[in-house]
Each structure stands twice: as C-alpha cells, then as structure tokens.
C-alpha cells in the first residue's frame, strides 16, 4: 500500500495548494479581512466580534492558513456573519441540489455514451458511426451555456412540463420522484449531453482498439457470440478509461454545475458560492472551494487506486517499491 500512501500524500499536497491559492486570491485588493469575514456592510461592533473570534487575522497569510486548515480538519467550519448561517447548515441545505445535478449528469452522460459509443465502434464507418461522430463533435463544440439556451428554447418554453429559467427548486427523490425529475432533468441534461458526447467518442476509440486486440480475436475464435464479446469482454476492458475520464471531468462537471444551477436552478452550492464571491464572504468561499477540491481530488485518488489494482504494470511497480 506504499503506492496508495504516495498518491495520498500527493493529493493532500494538491488540496493544500488549492485552498492556499484560494485564500490568497480572496485577499487580493482587500485591506480589511475582518470586514470581509463579517460580510461587508456591518457595524463596527460586529467587526470587533469577528476580530475576537478570529484573533489571527492580522498575522501573515501562511499563519492564517494554518489556523484555517486546523479548523477545517477538526470540523470547526464556523459561520457566515453576513448571512448568519453556519457553514454546516449551509452545506446541509445546499449540497443535495448540486450533488443531484452532478450525479444525474453523470448518469445521463453514461446512458447516452455507452450505447452510442459501443454501437459506433461495432458498426465502424457505417452510417450510424458517421452520424453519431458528427453530432458528438457538434455537441462538444457547444459550451454549456449554449446547450442551456437551446434546452430552454426548444424544450422548456415549448412544453410546460419543466420549470422555466431559475424556477427549478430542490425536491428530494424520495419525497416526490416526479417533481424531482421535473426539477432536475433539464439542468442535469445540460451537463449530461456534453459528457455523453465526450464519453461516446472516447468509448468508441477505445472499443475499436479493444475489438482489434488479440484477446477479442481469441474470444471470437473460442465461439463466444459477437454480442457477448462486444458487451461483456470489450466493454469491460474499456470501463477503466471511462472511469478515468469521469474523474478527469469531475472539476469541469462541478464548474458546469454552477452554470446550470444559476441558469435553471435548483439553487445549490454554486449559487451560494456566487453570492459569497460577491460579498467576499471568506469563510463560505473557503469552505465551498475546499469541499469541491476534496471531491475532485478524492475521485482522482479512487481512479488511481483502481488503476493500481487493475493494471499489472502499476501493481508490479508497487511490489518493487
């Protein structure tokens, strides 16, 4: 597990660097962090209160960062003075929306990508392959904002099923699955279309290589049916690169979720982060960015471990180490 430990150290390092950069960035052009922390337009008494709560604010940035990191790791996440809500409350309220958008986006992306990618690879250079290749290239060239506008214009406005601009709200699937679907389908599709396009191309290219490999030839030669070879043997070999791409897309996905949330709702972490950015609400910015970074870094860590388990070369290197 020495390999896992090495990767972990590297990921922790990345987390520290990201959160430190964010802290430095929040202080650009700010001469009074206590006022920022208090949330801008507040009374002197409140600022005094902040200074009491955070006595280290006049120390060098590195020291401040040390305090912040300690608080973050020990779960002392503090509260937003401006919005008078604790960070923990804020997460409980906001996290589910963002998580559901991202989750459904990945699910939709895979639902789009797997059949298209596999079938295009199987029927390579036929009509289906060309049409899907052409359209996926087009979709990749659409920024999330353009997809959002198209969905708005072509679906939401025409058919009254889905809530319009900014009107989606959070409904838990276990409370009301239908309402949940109505509120989350469009924002998730905004991101899922792009992911599906990227992944279908990735899967197609990967599957074509796999289908040409000796292992697949062997499976065919042994008399396993083409369908089974395609869906079981070949697809399984390509799952790993797909997983890698899911992890790779994680930061882009969360960035896209911010746009989708802002466009359609439901209001989640991204919307809260934007408000915090406008007020330079330091604690909220730090907390949300830290959580996002943890997610991205953790996803990549998992994929790395998965690689190490599956890929014999890395396993070998690990044994040697």
């Amino acid at each position: 597990m020495r390999y896992a430990a090495q990767r972990l150290v590297q990921f922790v390092l990345v987390f520290v660097v990201v959160t430190f950069i964010v802290m430095v960035a929040t202080r650009i052009g700010s001469d009074d962090p206590a006022r920022d922390l208090a949330g801008g337009l507040v009374s002197d008494a409140q600022i005094e209160q902040v200074k009491q709560d955070y006595p280290y604010l006049d120390k060098p940035l590195v020291v401040q960062y040390g305090y912040w990191l300690k608080d973050f790791v020990t779960g002392e996440w503090g509260k937003s003075y401006a919005a008078s809500e604790t960070v923990v409350d804020m997460f409980q309220q906001r996290m589910p929306s963002t998580a559901f958008i991202a989750f459904w986006a990945v699910v939709l992306g895979l639902l789009i990508a797997v059949p298209i990618g596999v079938y295009a690879a199987y029927r390579r250079d036929r009509a289906f392959d060309r049409v899907s290749g052409f359209s996926s290239f087009g979709v990749i060239s659409m920024p999330p904002l353009v997809i959002a506008v198209l969905l708005l214009y072509l679906v939401v406005v025409r058919y009254g099923v889905f809530p319009t601009v900014g009107r989606s709200r959070y409904v838990a699937p276990w409370d009301n699955p239908i309402e949940h679907f109505k509120n989350f389908f469009i924002p998730a599709l905004t991101l899922g279309l792009g992911l599906g396009a990227v992944w279908s191309r990735l899967l197609r290219a990967d599957m074509i290589l796999t289908l040409q490999s000796d292992a697949v030839m062997m499976a065919r030669a042994k008399g396993i049916s083409p369908q089974r070879v395609l869906w079981v043997h070949a697809l399984r070999a390509s799952i790993l690169s797909l997983m890698t791409s899911v992890a790779l897309q994680m930061s882009a996905l969360l960035g896209g979720a911010v746009v989708a949330e802002q466009f359609f709702g439901p209001k989640g972490l991204g919307e809260r982060l934007l408000i915090a950015l406008q007020q330079n609400d330091l604690l909220i910015i730090q907390a949300i960015t830290a959580i996002i970074t943890v997610f991205v870094v953790f996803a990549n860590f998992l994929v790395d471990l998965l690689y190490a388990v599956v890929d014999p070369r890395i396993r070998l290197a690990r044994t040697l180490g």
């Binding site: 590297q10 960035a25 087009g138 904002l145 406005v157 791409s245 969360l254």
Partner: protein, 317 residues
C-alpha cells in the same frame, strides 16, 4: 517509476506523441469541416477588424429610435433584430466577437509561451523542479476553472477600487477585459505545461537528443533545436482547441456575472442579458449563441484536423 504512473488527473491527459493512427475514417469530412472553419473564422476576423469601417455594422452601444424593447425581429435592416435597449444585435455580435476573440487568443498565446517553457523544464530536468511545478499544475487542474476565474475577476474589481499601488502605479486601468485575459492565461498554462511536459519526457529519451548531447550541444540548444520543433505540432492543435475552450469559458463566466463591463458586449454577456425574454425575442439570445457555437466549432474542427495531420492524440485539455 514516477513517470510511468498516472499523474493526478490521469494518464490520458497526456498526449501520446505517436498515437494510434486514426485510420481513414471520415477522410472527406474533415477537409470539408476545415474549409468551413477557415471560412467562418476569416469572415469573423474581417468583420471584427473592420467593424468600424463597414457601413452595415452599427455602433454596438447606440440605441436606435423605435427599436427598443425587442421591437424588431430579424429583418433586412436589422439582420439579427434589436435588443431590449434598441441596440442592433448584429452589431453587438460583431463587437462581442472582437472582445471574446481578443481575450481567448491573447490568453492562449501567453499560456503557450509560459506553459511550453515550464513544460519543457519539467520534462527535461525532472527532479525537484518538476515536482514543484507539477504540484501547482495539478492544483490548477483539480479545481473548477470557472469558479477560480470568477473569484479572481471579482477580486480584480476590488483591486481596481482599492488604493493599492505597485511600483507607484495603481490598478485603475485593470478592467475586466484585462482581468479575464490574465486569469485565462493562468488557467491555460496548467494544461499546456502538462502536455508539453509529457511530450518532453518522451522526446528526451529519443536517441537524437542523446546524439545532440554527445556532439556537445548545450542544454538550451538541445531544448530549442531538438525538442521544441517536435513539440510544436501538438501545440498548434492545442492552440486551436484551447481557443475554443476559452471562448466557451468566457461565455460561462459572463453568464455568472463576471464579464466585460456593460455597455461593452461579449457573446456570453448578450445571452445573459436577454435569456429571460427568450419567449418574446428569441433572436437576441439565439444569435449570439449561434455565433459562439460556430466559432467554437470552427476552432475545434481546425484543431482536430491539425491533431490528425500530425498524429497527435489528446484525451483531455
């Protein structure tokens, strides 16, 4: 061993210098696509450069009498219609293109210069300097770029309003156009550094690099004469796809409220300004979207063609 393992965002981020040649698929289509891309970009560049001199491009900020409140749809006079304030959507699209393109192209140029230098240093010298730079690259790639950009552009506003001076100069000139370009340059550096690093790592193992060193070439000569020319094809392709990505990012950023200051126009800002009225006036939202899409598509088509031409494969930027 460290080099053979997937780095933090995975092995596929790297370009395999000798990729698996994509065989004859869609042989005709790329050339058609590239033709379209070049034509579209040329038109766009001519329009934006000569916008002030062309009689059919109105001023982007000037309201036209009687055209307010989306009064005019697309017509022979107002090609793309008018927006809520009675401004010509076509003119705003053209001037928006100017700002969007300047931001994207200048950022990618800075990103290429710095990223190539850093990537070659990392890949050639390896060791501690590689690890040091790579941690920052990994950090930049691990965090959603659009949020980072929003944060920094937001702070640029605070910086502008503050009294802070560097070398006796204030930051009054540092408007959002500058800020976005600066942030995008920074964001472009990370993936380019990673790509160039991977290429340099593999190229520096080639025997012609060893040959050059055995002939007595100094390190700068090896880097500039032997390695750089072999990195360039990948960089050309990265340049085009990179511009496409930055154009999309600019639109997203504008939507989040961190665009150029009104009444200046950028495509993303136009979408943001008009999307709530898409039912009454689709033209004010859809035309900028179409412009954005066609431009991103053109850059992607050309980048894809270049990548195929030089047999460069990239999985992610």
């Amino acid at each position: 061993m460290a080099e053979t393992l997937p780095s933090i965002t995975g092995t596929t981020a790297a370009i395999a210098p000798v990729g698996v040649a994509e065989p004859t698929r869609r042989r005709r289509l790329p050339s058609l696509g590239v033709g379209f891309g070049v034509l579209w970009l040329a038109t766009l560049v001519i329009l934006t450069v000569f916008a002030g001199n062309l009689p059919f491009v109105r001023l982007p900020t000037q309201a036209v009498n009687g055209a307010s409140n989306y009064a005019l749809g697309p017509s022979s006079d107002f090609w793309f219609g008018s927006d809520r304030l009675g401004r010509d959507v076509f003119a705003r699209c053209v001037y928006g293109a100017r700002i969007s393109l300047i931001i994207a192209v200048s950022s990618i140029v800075v990103g290429l210069l710095v990223g190539t230098a850093l990537g070659m240093i990392c890949g050639y010298f390896r060791g501690w300097i590689d690890r040091f730079i790579s941690v920052f690259v990994d950090a930049l790639l691990a965090f959603p770029a659009i949020i980072f950009a929003a944060l920094l552009v937001g702070r640029a506003k605070a910086l502008r309003q503050s009294e802070i001076e560097v070398l006796g100069f204030g930051f009054g000139w540092f408007n959002n156009t500058w800020a976005i370009s600066a942030v995008f340059s920074l964001l472009a550096i990370a993936p380019i550094t990673r790509i160039v690093r991977a290429q340099t790592l593999s190229l520096s193992q080639r025997e012609y690099v060893l040959a050059a060193r055995s002939l007595g070439a100094r390190t700068p000569r090896v880097l500039l004469r032997e390695i750089l020319p072999n990195v360039v094809p990948a960089l050309v392709s990265v340049m085009f796809t990179g511009v496409a990505i930055l154009l999309a990012a600019e639109a997203g950023l504008a939507f989040l409220g961190y665009s150029v200051e009104p009444p200046k126009a950028s495509w993303g800002l136009m979408v943001t300004e008009n999307r709530e009225f898409i039912e009454e006036a689709w033209w004010a939202t859809l035309f900028p979207c179409v412009m954005l899409f066609l431009t991103v598509l053109s850059f992607n088509l050309i980048g894809d063609r270049v990548a195929r031409r030089f047999d460069v494969r990239e999985a992610a930027l």
